[in-house]
Symmetry: C2
Subunit: 202 residues, 2 copies
Amino acid sequence: MEESHGLLIVLSGPSGAGKGTLCRELLCQMPDLRYSVSMTTRSPRPGEVEGVHYYFRTRNEFESMLASNELLESAEFCDNYYGTPIFAVEQAIQAGLDVILEIEIQGALQIKKRFPQGIFTFIVPPSLDVLSERIHKRGTETEEVIQKRLATAIQELEYVSEYDYVVINDEVPVAVNKLKSILIAEKCRVKRKPFVFKGESR
Amino acid sequence: MEESHGLLIVLSGPSGAGKGTLCRELLCQMPDLRYSVSMTTRSPRPGEVEGVHYYFRTRNEFESMLASNELLESAEFCDNYYGTPIFAVEQAIQAGLDVILEIEIQGALQIKKRFPQGIFTFIVPPSLDVLSERIHKRGTETEEVIQKRLATAIQELEYVSEYDYVVINDEVPVAVNKLKSILIAEKCRVKRKPFVFKGESR
């Protein structure tokens, strides 16, 4: 069996599902897993390090990368571009490291078009009640905003059919274990690698 | 998320790969996993229990089940039929239990035609040297028979492309962990179940 390339696992799903928590937990538990660093045109905040928190680029540089298809996905928020550069993901994967990427649904669908061999995982809260509870607990939003976010989350659930896996984030350790299992299982998939049997060529 | 049916996992691959060991180990570690009991026309040996070791049937009964397509696979050895009855697998799966089945390659390919939603896992030894060692250790066969079996094993490796997963049986605990991960991951596959979000219908 040949040593295989790393895999790209994309965690996505409605906001409030707990993607961020699961992503951090996986990175803690799996030392060979790399976080995909985003690229942005916004200015670095104090303490932010190039290549760790973001790749910081000028608008011109970003647009030139966009034009030459060097981003897996991109979006514009508050007059700044954000995106996922291909080079970093490819570098890690070719070195045999797995890469994790946490992203909202539209970004995930963009990535799927460019990199269908990624593992697309939809993270969902166990119920709308739990989702509502989680958003309320943050205490940062008005009731109207919360109701809008809940309505959006329900709509977003439709996108589950675009994904390979769905993981219910009820208890974090259980969900983390499922994500680890997905990575282990995907490495065993026949379609992922040419099978070479040691000694076959003798 | 709706409670889903159980899954059928098929362990197959060249003889000497260690399918039997992995199957027994999984059954020990996973109390909700059921072993698929075969049906045969041979007479029960002392101590063999109907429905535990085999389902014992007459030749007429077996042939009538064959004719009405009630077997997932079947073969004839030494004038006796052996096969996998569908009823037992279906019963367990519909009760939400996973079923494991250990079988040689031709049998697995028969099952795949009848039950493509099974998880078809190809078990291989880490190398031909290890395979050769394992066969020699049994000490029951002549050198000529051993060489024939090795040649057959090499040919049989071609069939890996018919399977969903390939697991190298190098260290048993590692291989068992991979098989468990495959089961956990398959339960998260979007295509395996209609997604129902609790509270969605409110």
